[in-house]
């Protein structure tokens, strides 16, 4: 799993362009070196004949085939659709629920036991139940992903609301703000950074749940393809699937990070 779930707030302070460039380029070069080294080690391991391990070239060939015959695109689309729908629904619900819990003690009292309880159950453990109750179509797959995304981001949204600086709320109150205004004009913006962190964690969980969700009688999808490959001992395909999941997860995480930077550039970062 390549999805980075931890918040990355450690943006270096704006410094002189030259220093900034030195800082920016070095890690990138190092990253590329690391990737090259990794591929090198991988080639070496497969060359000296580690049991059944396909080399990078074999995997790349397989990727080429899967791309050429359209299987990869189909699988990626199917998986992405499930992840995105589940994730979108999960966070769309998590934000208002988290806000409710943070704002109203009653809502917190009522909802928290359930949230805490379901959080301790790995979403994958829900799969058998989801199949029995929801059948074997798209619904149970999306539902499990939805649940994973919801549970991991609801807590972040809730924490965001609870952590809003009391003095900011008081500052708005003394200027004549009603509860509703305070909510919209202070609580929502102040907790945006938390919510975005929650969304990144939620996305991580959504991806993490994908492959298992596609165990449920799927006809296409990256997880399904990998399971099929497993039946035929087709390691190159499994590798293609793994790398694709990793790369897609990383891309989506970067996109969220970008949104985070944009939306919360007002934050003082240390």
């Amino acid at each position: 799993m390549t999805v980075v779930a931890a918040p990355e707030n450690a943006v270096p302070a704006r410094s002189t362009p030259r220093r900034a460039r030195r800082r920016g380029v070095r890690p990138l070069v190092l990253n590329l070196v690391a990737v090259a080294l990794g591929i090198g080690v991988w080639s070496l391991l497969s060359a000296i004949g580690v049991q059944g391990l396909p080399g990078p070239v074999t995997v790349a060939d397989r990727a080429g085939e899967l791309i050429a015959d359209g299987t990869l695109a189909e699988d990626v689309l199917a998986s992405l659709r499930r992840v995105l729908i589940g994730f979108a629904l999960g966070t769309a619900l998590a934000v208002p629920v988290g806000f409710l819990m943070g704002w109203y003690a009653t809502a917190r009292g009522l909802l928290e036991p359930y949230i805490q309880f379901f959080r301790t159950i790995p979403p994958l453990a829900i799969i058998p139940l989801a199949i029995v109750l929801l059948g074997i179509g798209e619904v149970p797959k999306v539902f499990v992903i939805f649940l994973a995304a919801f549970l991991s981001s609801v807590v972040a949204a809730f924490q965001g609301v609870v952590d809003v600086d009391r003095t900011l709320i008081n500052a708005a109150r003394v200027l004549g703000a009603s509860d509703r205004t305070i909510f919209a004009k202070v609580v929502v913006p102040a907790s945006t950074p938390f919510i975005l962190v929650g969304m990144r964690i939620g996305l991580g969980s959504a991806w993490a749940t994908l492959v298992a969700a596609e165990l449920i009688a799927a006809q296409e999808g990256l997880g399904y393809r990998m399971q099929q490959a497993q039946l035929y001992y087709d390691l190159p395909t499994i590798f293609v699937g793994l790398i694709t999941i990793g790369v897609l997860g990383l891309l989506m995480d970067r996109l969220l990070l970008l949104a985070d930077r944009r939306l919360t550039s007002w934050q003082e970062r240390r």
């Binding site: 900011l168 008081n170 500052a171 003394v174 200027l175 004549g176 007002w266």
Partner: protein
Amino acid sequence: MIPKITFRDVVRTFPVKGGTFTALDGVSLDIADEEFVTVVGPSGCGKSTLLGMAAGLDEPTGGEVLVDGAPVTGPGPERGVIFQQYALFPWLTVRRNVEFGLRLADLPAEERRTRAQRAIDLVGLTDFADALPKTLSGGMKQRCAIARAYAVDPTVLLMDEPFGALDALTRVQLQDQLLDTWSQDRRTVLFITHDVDEAVYLARRVVVMAARPGRIHKIVDVDLPYPRTEEIRLSPEFSRIRNEVWHSVYHQSPAAV
């Protein structure tokens, strides 16, 4: 004439582990309309608690707090508060921060802009109107907070150690600026500070508080004319009053209740 602000036998206790903690015990104080009163006292003697009750952010557990003769039931835009921490909205620019209260008051856009601009100019932040708080220095943040409070034109200003975190120079500048605006446009000011010089320089009366339990130890009249100038700051009379206040802050006999 009824006082602008009245604290009558105000008691404030907080429930703590194993009992109650008395933050304020029987505080009575009248502040006249357009009067400038400063409060000094040791840390933890209940200064912020007192101010919070006038602001309507907290309620007394005993006694009452009146503004214009009526009990305080909550915050209101006629009472501007400047907090010990700047409490600027970090996601809004200086201008938007200053406009925050004006938007709530539903003013026409035109008037909102002119009033915000006037407040921003007044505190000398004209060139930084479109900057975000994170790019401002401490003194500039504090001036922005002051502009935000001024913009809604409150009749009462409640200021909690507003200059506490500033360097000596900025501090003196802001003191003069505050007195300047106050003399142009008199309001009632309740101003908390740790700094004895500041307390005497600004006020007509200095309230010295004592701790454990928080109470008023002494009230010192400052019979110095306004406008206050550097000359006054360096005068023997100023020193005399300053020494009196200093003495009652730092040499409170523990028995004095």
